[in-house]
């Protein structure tokens, strides 16, 4: 490796990491948090079979999963102004990413809610709880444990997807790299460098996921495997 290249790489490292810290990470956290709220709402109205809303949630998931994230970003940032809705680049990116990740995460959550044996719901009713109490106290705590790895998958995906925000003028890690690459004519090294930084971020998240799973295991004691009981009824042992 030439000295010049080494110099570029060391100098650019900070210049790439800085927008990573002040843009990529906040963008990811904010989008994921809002996305989770959307996902929870979309999953719950489907699990509860709320008429109308259930259909709306299905439509939302269908739309978002069926169109490219890049197209969604363009519609929100470049398209909406013509309808009179003008958003800054960062809020537009947050909006696009939360709507997008919400659709995927809602499916993860919905499946997790369905995986909680239905009998507990009935037992909850018989014990005198109402629907929201059963959901909040019994079903969701168990569902979140099941959904946890899947949701982390979405989060890790989102970290990398934020690079698409460069297309709508958000100065995040990837755009910073592009600029340096254009200046120095070292695309190979620089794009490898930014890739490495993304990889490190996701590595941290992977470790976090492992730690979280361990904690949940301890908290829920749900280490058992589902077994088929007599009469073909699935129960947990």
């Amino acid at each position: 490796m030439t000295e010049r290249l080494l110099g570029i790489l060391t100098r650019s490292f900070g210049q790439i990491l800085l927008p990573g810290i002040i843009t990529t990470i906040p963008l990811t956290i904010l989008s994921f948090a809002i996305g989770m709220l959307i996902a929870l709402a979309a999953a719950l109205v489907q699990a509860a079979e709320v008429k109308g809303l259930r259909k709306a949630a299905r439509f939302y998931v269908w739309m978002i999963r069926g169109t490219p994230l890049l197209v969604q970003l363009y519609i929100i940032f470049y398209g909406l102004p013509s309808m009179g809705i003008l958003l800054d680049a960062f809020p537009a990116a947050v909006m696009a990413f939360s709507i997008n990740v919400g659709a995927y995460a809602s499916e993860t959550l919905r499946a997790a809610i369905l995986s909680v044996p239905k009998g507990q719901m009935e037992a909850g009713y018989c014990a005198g709880l109402d629907y929201f109490q059963i959901m909040g106290r019994i079903v969701l705590p168990q569902a979140l444990k099941v959904a946890f790895p899947g949701l982390f998958n979405s989060l890790i995906g989102l970290v990398k997807d934020t690079s698409l925000a460069a297309n709508i003028t958000v100065l995040e890690m990837f755009m910073a790299t592009q600029r340096i690459a254009a200046r120095t004519y070292e695309p190979f090294a620089l794009y490898c460098e930014v890739g490495f930084i993304y990889l490190m971020m996701c590595t941290v998240l992977t470790k976090l996921q492992k730690y979280g799973e361990k904690r949940l295991d301890k908290a829920g004691r749900m280490t058992g495997k589902p077994v088929t009981g007599r009469g073909g009824v699935i129960c947990w042992k």
Binding site: P117, G119, C126, G128, G224
Partner: protein
């Protein structure tokens, strides 16, 4: 004290209950017997609104509810006065044994946590689980789980407890513990409606036995009348078959 009248229920056009009447007096133990598919479990589930009946009335201690058109408020009110024990226990898997029992007291009946804990511990003591308060369902045997289920149903001091085949999912050697607990409850004067296949238990503990087949009550009476000298041919057939099955076990 508890009465259901003219219960009808069909699943996808198949009639499962064709006008069933059950009457339960205070302190009575009523056992419902019948071959599988006779509608006994469905009847029990309709009585607690887990299944919506197409027609029928429930009268619980003077409160009359239309089983087909019950309002949410009425259903909740009725459920606050009944307990239900499931075949598969249906314990809350993220809660300890004690929390399983107190959940309905704290969240459903707004009893202060401290007081609920006391009631819960008493209920668990009663079913012989005083050393298992903090165990999660997965750490308990089937028999223990079902006894937690019974404690959960008993704790709120309901007017009647429904048992839906409480021993059918258990290993034979664990059935005895559960039946002992149920017998104890019966002796204390708990009003119970029990769907079961345990013939000797029915004979010993029941005040009234209903025999159901094909969605109707074929025969009812004291255990003596129904189990020892049944009048109906269908009852006799059923008993012959069941008793022979028991021979196989021996």
């Amino acid at each position: 004290m508890l009465e259901v009248k003219n219960v009808h229920k069909a699943f996808h056009g198949t009639e499962v209950l064709k006008g069933v009447d059950i009457e339960v007096g205070k302190g009575d133990v009523v056992v419902i017997l019948g071959p599988s598919g006779s509608g006994k479990t469905t009847l029990l589930r309709c009585m607690n609104f887990l299944e919506k009946a197409d027609k029928g009335t429930l009268v619980l201690d003077g409160m009359s509810v239309d089983l087909a058109k019950a309002q949410k408020r009425e259903i909740r009110e009725a459920r606050l006065h009944t307990g239900f024990v499931f075949q598969n226990y249906n314990l809350f898997l993220n809660k300890t044994a004690l929390e399983n029992v107190t959940e309905g007291l704290v969240a459903g009946r707004k009893i202060p946590k401290k007081q609920a804990d006391e009631i819960g511990k008493k209920a668990l003591d009663k079913v012989g689980l005083s050393d298992r308060y903090d165990y999660y369902p997965q750490q308990l045997s089937g028999g223990q789980q079902q006894r937690v289920g019974i404690a959960r149903a008993v704790a709120a001091n309901p007017k009647v407890i429904f048992f839906d085949e409480p021993t059918s999912a258990l290993d034979p050697e664990l059935i005895g513990d559960v039946l002992t607990v149920m017998k104890k409850l019966a002796e204390e004067g708990t009003t119970m409606v029990i769907v079961t296949h345990e013939m000797s238990f029915a004979k010993e503990v029941a005040d009234w036995v209903y025999f159901m087949d094909g969605g109707t009550v074929v025969e009812k009476g004291t255990p003596q009348e129904v189990l020892t000298c049944p009048k109906e041919e269908r009852t006799r057939q059923f008993l012959r078959r069941v008793l022979r099955e028991i021979d196989y076990y021996i």
